[in-house]
């Protein structure tokens, strides 16, 4: 049954420059706007299109006034694509995924470049949001007052994930919270499994090892163990939904780029530059 009135919470602009993901991007966008009523503007740059200025003008004509415009950037490049800045000027919120596609580190580097140039601040990276359940898991260890004392003694970290954006974001987050520098902590990043998936994080102090490990055979469950001086019984938690639609939903509901995210990105950049050097 149709309704004479429809709510609109935003204009949702989706930019795609790869024909092979166009249908999937549209499907996800439609799933999102079924939940958050919006005008959907699909910008298909995989076929011939005009100049960035023309693209901006055409898109602008489609925007619903008085509600925010969210740009979901699914382009292959970001800051190196002139269309990026043309469309970004129209947007109140920019959502992208540094771990999209091949999952190499290039997208994250470009995002770091964007931030270091002092650009617009309302940016949400799905690669970072995807890690929230893992951040929660690691935080659980140190809710325990006894174990919290060990937090300052963490000397090494191992992260096993399917793509580097997740590895560097997790590393950057821990480093920013615990004041690590590339010189102060021993880091081992292991590439394994599917892109965008984290499998295991292990933190070691001199006396104990804290391990959060994905137990896939029994479902999306992460089991936490502490071995060594502060040994504890295993505790398991469900790994919550990290589907793209759910992440974009989180991105649009957040008020802006958090200080924790900015600090994470700065710390990740320091580790990334250190690894290249």
């Amino acid at each position: 049954m149709s309704s004479p009135a429809q709510a609109a919470t935003m204009t949702f602009v989706v930019y795609v420059d790869d024909a092979s993901i166009l249908a999937e991007a549209r499907e996800r966008a439609e799933a999102l706007i079924a939940k958050h009523p919006a005008r959907l503007v699909m910008v298909d740059a995989s076929s011939p299109h005009g100049t960035p200025e023309e693209l901006q003008s055409t898109t602008h004509a489609q925007i619903v006034p008085d509600v925010p415009t969210v740009l979901f950037w699914a382009g292959k490049e970001s800051v190196r694509d002139p269309n990026f800045f043309a469309l970004n000027e129209l947007a109140d919120v920019l959502v992208l995924d540094s771990s999209r596609g091949s999952g190499d580190i290039e997208s994250l580097r470009q995002l770091m470049e964007y931030f270091s140039a002092g650009r617009r601040t309302k940016v949400q990276d799905l690669a970072y949001l995807r890690l929230a359940p893992w951040q929660e898991m690691i935080a659980i260890f140190f809710d325990d007052a006894e174990l919290a004392e060990d937090l300052g003694k963490i000397a090494s970290v191992e992260i096993t994930a399917g793509s580097p954006a997740e590895q560097y974001y997790l590393l950057g987050w821990l480093a920013s919270r615990l004041n690590w520098t590339p010189e102060s902590v021993q880091v081992a990043l292991h590439a394994k499994g599917k892109p965008r998936r984290v499998y295991e994080i292990a933190l070691s102090s001199g006396s104990s090892t804290y391990r959060a490990k994905l137990e896939e055979p029994t479902g999306p469950v992460v089991c936490l163990t502490v071995e060594g001086a502060h040994a504890r019984d295993q505790h398991c938690e469900t790994l919550h939904d990290v589907a793209v639609v759910a992440l974009v939903e989180q991105a649009i509901l957040r008020p802006g780029t958090s200080d924790v995210y900015r600090a994470t990105l700065d710390a990740a950049r320091a580790f990334l530059e250190h690894s290249v050097a």
Partner: protein, 509 residues
Amino acid sequence: MTATATAPNPLREGLDTQRISDPCTIVFFGASGDLFKRMLLPSIYELRQRGTLPTNFALVGFARSQYDDDGFRAYCKEQLDQFAYGAKPDGAMWDDFAKCIRYVTADFGDTSHFEALKRILEENDRDLKTGGNRLFYLSTPPSVFPGIIDQLQKAGLDPKSNPKGWTRIVVEKPFGTDLASARALQTEVEKVFDEGQVYRIDHYLGKEPVQDIMALRFANVIFEPIWNRNYVQSVQITAAETLGVEGRGGYYDSAGALRDMIQNHVMNLLALVAMEPPATADADAIRNEKFKVFASIQPPALADVPKMAVRGQYDAGLIDGKPVPSYRTEPDVNPKSDTETYAAVKLFVENWRWAGVPFYLRSGKRLARKVSEIAVTFKNIPHRFYGEKTDEIDPNVLVIKIQPDEGVSLRFEAKVPGQKSHIRTVSMDFNYGTGFGVQSPPAYERLIADAMRGDQTLFTRWDAVQRAWEIVTPIQQSWQNATPTFPNYGAGSQGPHGATQLFDDWRTL
């Protein structure tokens, strides 16, 4: 893992989490009952799945049925297999959850069983690091509430005997069956618990659309200027069901629509519609405003009750084209029962905002349609100069739909396209389900989590419960003093004809 940090955990900064930070044990009295297996246990398990429960959590069942710990765990798994509305109990998650479940086979009158419970709680504090925090959930028949509270004190499970953690109690509705019994129960509660430790649950208040009423009123500026006697003609609050007593004949026959629905659910809706904006979102700020609404309603004089209230009882009839029996032939119902299955009440909130505006409340079983809604009817336009002479210009109506199809609809007048100036009534609808495309979580999930967090906002305070009983008491008394002519409405109908004498413009079900 334990959760007893005293210094802030630096990894928690900026994390977006719903996790309840206080470790605790929740004890379900009546854990072999229907409410536990259908609603409470699935809600707890879903909270566990969502990562809302504290990491140091334990559940203790306390009931008459014979189980040991493993037997009760198997019982819980069996019930979750059937009633869990999220993930079913399986794998590492279930194993982990099952470890925190214990059981006491109990006689509610035997202090030694409460002492056994105390030992388990102490073991939980030691082994599962539950921090001495206890939430007692009374999901038993109300008749045993006072006995349980008394035994908790005798066994040293009262708040004063537990200085190292918090102790709270959740009491299911109904809180008493009339004013006297509610006061008697409150006297027993007060002997052991302070008001800040008592969570009187009315699951209606945990429903998302009920919470949306406050958002609609106080997160928008356009409604508040007209939300008063200057613009509002009347308010209708309806909680109608097509179902009968559904196996609850024994309970319902001693309750009736006035006690079961009007005194609590429907009155709470009235409070949310009529309350002043609270100064803060704090539980007591909101509950203070709700109480002020009840305090502004004068209970009807006994002689006025026939003009202010109507009752009914359903006869056999048709629901969705299928025959259904009369109330008096339902299982466990007295064949000569005078219990009302329909109640309609007219009340006035006598304050500056609402003086002279009637609030019509109605609730009934086996009515034509299942609907819970609040309809705010605005006054007619003051001067008509538009439209053809034959056109009827209806007042605007704002309808807050609670179930089904939760949402908001606004009825207003519009010009029919064409050269003539015909006016027609149109409806503008917003539906939360299609608007946001989300399923609201069950009310119990929200309410249990709030009790564990210590947030009393959605729980009813004693002063409000007492005042609601005071308001309906003359109606109860008047109805007790006169024998009704029952049955007086057919199943599947709009209710008894007498309701139109109270108000001739009820919205059609």
